[in-house]
């Protein structure tokens, strides 16, 4: 009897698990991959997948904050490349590595601050502001680089992107550390509560005395700064800052976050979901590659899997009235 009850409780908890659908799809993909191509389980491939996912995830953590407040940031892909280029150029010209990294990060902070202030003070929709910022950064990249990559980079810079801790790449460690911080902040701090409250109902939050404008600006700063960090790490990893780095990331990241169950309308979302979403996005690509599915078909299959995975969760949420 007791056991039955316990079983039922676990079952219910599972049914209420927000990311059940994508977890199932993710598991199915992993199992399928192991049947078709044993290299999927090689340490090299796993690290490879995790490293790719980490770039998406680092930005995804911050974008989770942005989406929870009901905002959107499409500039991350280009901010990422621009920050990488700035840092690389500084490092290449002999500026100490710490300072050159800071240069890229400061650029990210500034871009985020501008995004945030324009959204909050001039009431321009976030979609427009960040789309504009995306084009501005794209232009800056071309002006600064004339379209060619910045390389080679000093060793210490490379180390940042290529180094490992206990055999695990720095990038994966950094993204996990950021995930823990992000999840903790979101769930356990006053700031996190304010982020949720603003997305849940901006006016209610304002009347409750929450500093709505400052909080909104802060999430844009957070997302652009994270994008800058990802760009710097990627430049280090590739030993060159590519003008095309992170191109299209804005869509990949936003997709990963939404797949992870974060609401496009604000008020709900989690870092765990974003982690699963980022993994799903990367694993699909990897599995298709290993299964030797023609590159021409990949995008199509990815699209179908995403819709299926999210559809499953949406169906379940409607069924259980989870909003």
């Amino acid at each position: 009897m007791e056991q039955k009850k316990e079983k039922k409780r676990i079952w219910q908890a599972m049914e209420r698990f927000d990311q059940l659908g994508i977890t199932i799809v993710l598991a199915a993909l992993v199992i399928m991959a192991s049947f078709t191509n044993p290299t999927f389980y090689s340490a090299g491939n796993i690290i490879n997948v995790l490293r790719s996912a980490s770039f998406v995830f680092i930005i995804g953590i911050a974008i989770t904050f942005v989406l929870i407040t009901g905002g959107l940031d499409l500039s991350v892909g280009r901010v990422m490349a621009m920050a990488g280029i700035l840092s690389a150029m500084a490092a290449k010209s002999g500026v100490p590595v710490a300072v050159s990294i800071l240069t890229g990060l400061v650029f990210g902070l500034a871009a985020g601050l501008i995004n945030g202030l324009l959204v909050v003070k001039l009431h321009i929709p976030a979609l427009i502001v960040t789309l504009g910022m995306m084009y501005i950064c794209d232009g800056l990249i071309l002006i600064v680089t004339m379209g060619s990559p910045v390389y080679p980079l000093p060793d210490s810079f490379k180390k940042l992107g290529q180094g490992t801790v206990f055999g695990i790449p720095n990038i994966i460690m950094i993204s996990l550390a950021l995930a823990l911080i992000g999840a903790f902040v979101l769930k356990n701090t006053k700031y996190g509560r304010q982020v949720y409250a603003i997305g849940g109902n901006r006016e209610t939050a304002r009347l409750a005395g929450i500093p709505v404008d400052a909080t909104q600006v802060s999430v844009y700063v957070l997302s652009a700064a994270s994008a800058a960090l990802a760009g710097i790490l990627m430049a280090g990893r590739l030993n060159s800052a590519q003008p095309g780095a992170g191109n299209g990331y804005e869509m990949t990241v936003v997709a990963a976050v939404i797949i992870g169950g974060t609401s496009m309308f604000g008020g709900a979302g989690s870092i765990l979901g974003t982690l699963l979403g980022s993994l799903l996005m990367t694993v699909i690509e990897n599995v298709l590659l290993l299964m030797k599915i023609s590159a021409y078909w990949q995008s199509l299959v990815i699209g179908i899997i995403i819709i299926f995975a999210v559809g499953l969760d949406q169906y379940r949420r409607t069924k259980y009235g989870l909003g």
Binding site: T189, A197, A208, S263
Partner: protein
């Protein structure tokens, strides 16, 4: 009453019957065994206070509260109908006109009239000539002199209300349901509308007219049906009932229980307002609140009466700091100047504000009861930025139980609760803050009778604790019963002041108009 009465009458004379309607929400029965019969070519008025069950009934009839949620059956022209959506109800010939007008402001008058049914030419393009021709016919029928090509946003509120009726008529309904259609209109506009409804009989349209304005009801209804607390109380033919009788039926015996006013000794001054002005949101150079002065004391419930648009909500918005643009005047809270402060500073100083539209800015629908209760006092449950789960649970639990909020647990999201329980959560949120003055704007709007009494009890308790309370309400009985003093606001100025004992609906109305 009840079963026997419903069955005994011949159904063929009825265009619409609602039999034994019962609707239950978590913890509340909003409708209990209500029967409504609408004869052909008649205007049947349904009266009742807020929370009597009128809107629940209308939601079922319009199909927005679909079949399966309620018990009972709906018959149109003797045939049983099951409405799963508003579309089903429209197909059965039932058209609704709501309090809030639902037109497409960016589209033209003609497009609004025919939305979804635009006549087309043989090529499949819209037949504009025909649209404008037929539009003119229906506009004439409701006495609306506008160009069918005009955009709806250029029309005045009353013109829009008339257009909404024209649109309903264009669909050739059997039954037209009007839910408080005059609430946004001026007296003359309302009179025109009532005349129009009386004439609809000749067009063989039967009307259900929902209102709590008795003068309107007496002016147009063939029969009057009174609901109270979700039950059918009485039905009268025109001329059979006196206004007094109707009010007794609407209010019932519950009068004393409904307003649990505690006797509180009124203390010293807590809020002083001098020469306070708020600019009109639409008319430049005009003040919607125009040089007002008043004083609020500890333990006092101060009522502000007035018509819609008199500036009542705008006054509270400006005093609470929710709206600051162009506001001028001097305000003291416990002797300290607070005018010119930001919303946050005013909140920190101790003013809580339960707003008019709780859905819009009172609570977070997707968040839990716990999260909603603590959202205005996050500082109380955080230590150096970190939230203490234990203290959060303690605080939220205290109010959850203390206010007897009806929900399975504190993790239930607000959109699952009834209006009354949502409002209790909003109150709990402000009770948790260190407030000294509370503003209530229409605190019992859309709440059932039981929850209303609880809201009143909480307000009285706050007054007993020594808070100063300002209450804005359109429901005069609650103002008169709860307030120690009532100020009447008309065109931005106070036109009268009554003590709670000397106030009456007649006196207040006289001062408000």
């Amino acid at each position: 009453m009840g079963w026997g009465k419903c069955m005994s009458e011949n159904s063929s004379v009825y265009v619409l019957e609602m039999r034994h309607m019962t609707r239950r929400f978590t913890g509340v029965t909003a409708l209990q065994d209500v029967c409504i019969h609408l004869k052909k070519d008649e205007v049947l008025a349904i009266c009742g206070e807020n929370g009597a069950g009128k809107s629940t009934l209308m939601k079922i009839l319009s199909g927005s509260d679909g079949w399966g949620n309620y018990e009972g059956e709906i018959l149109v022209e003797g045939k049983v109908c099951r409405f799963h959506s508003t579309r089903d109800a429209e197909a059965a010939g039932i058209e609704m006109i709501y309090q809030e007008i639902s037109l497409h402001l960016e589209l033209s008058v003609g497009e609004n009239l025919f939305l979804g049914h635009l006549p087309v030419t043989r090529l499949g393009t819209v037949d504009w000539k025909k649209v404008h021709e037929i539009s003119r016919e229906y506009l004439e029928a409701v006495g609306l002199e506008v160009d069918p090509r005009q955009k709806v946003k250029t029309l005045s509120t009353s013109q829009q209300q008339l257009l909404a009726i024209a649109r309903a008529l264009a669909r050739k309904p059997q039954v037209l349901v009007l839910d408080e259609p005059t609430s946004a209109l001026t007296q003359t506009e309302a009179d025109n509308l009532l005349r129009l409804i009386r004439n609809l009989k000749e067009k063989h349209v039967s009307c259900l007219y929902i209102s709590h304005k008795l003068d309107e009801v007496f002016a147009i209804a063939d029969r009057i049906c009174v609901l109270r607390d979700g039950r059918h109380i009485s039905t009268y033919g025109a001329g059979e009932a006196s206004p007094r009788q109707l009010i007794e039926d609407m209010v019932g015996r519950k009068m004393e229980i409904l307003y649990p006013k505690q006797e509180v000794e009124i203390g010293g001054e807590i809020l002083r307002v001098e020469d306070f002005c708020v600019p009109h949101p639409y008319r430049r150079g005009h003040n919607i609140v125009d040089h007002v002065d008043f004083v609020l004391r500890r333990g006092e419930i101060l009522g502000i009466a007035g018509l819609v648009g008199a500036g009542r909500s705008e006054l509270l918005n400006a005093l609470s700091g929710a709206e600051t643009r162009g506001v001028s005047g001097r305000v003291w809270l416990e002797g300290k100047r607070i005018d010119g402060s930001s919303l946050r500073e005013i909140k920190e100083a101790g003013i809580g504000y339960v707003t008019e539209d709780r859905k819009k800015n009172g609570f977070i629908a997707g968040a839990s009861i716990r999260e909603n209760i603590v959202v205005a006092s996050l500082d109380k449950i955080t230590d150096r930025g970190l939230i203490s789960r234990r203290s959060e649970k303690e605080y939220a639990g205290k109010y959850f139980e203390g206010l007897a909020i009806k929900a399975p647990d504190m993790e239930t999201p607000l959109f699952r609760l009834s209006g009354g329980n949502q409002q209790k959560v909003v109150l709990a949120k402000w009770m948790m803050t260190d407030r000294k003055v509370m503003f209530f704007d229409e605190p019992t709007r859309g709440i059932d009778v039981g929850a209303k009494a609880e809201i009143y009890r909480l307000m009285s308790r706050m007054a007993a604790e020594g808070l100063g309370i300002i209450m804005v309400s359109s429901e005069m009985p609650e103002l008169i019963a709860l307030c120690d003093r009532i100020l009447v606001l008309a065109r931005g100025r106070f036109t009268a002041e009554f003590s709670g004992d000397e106030a009456s609906q007649e006196k207040i109305m006289a001062a408000a108009t």
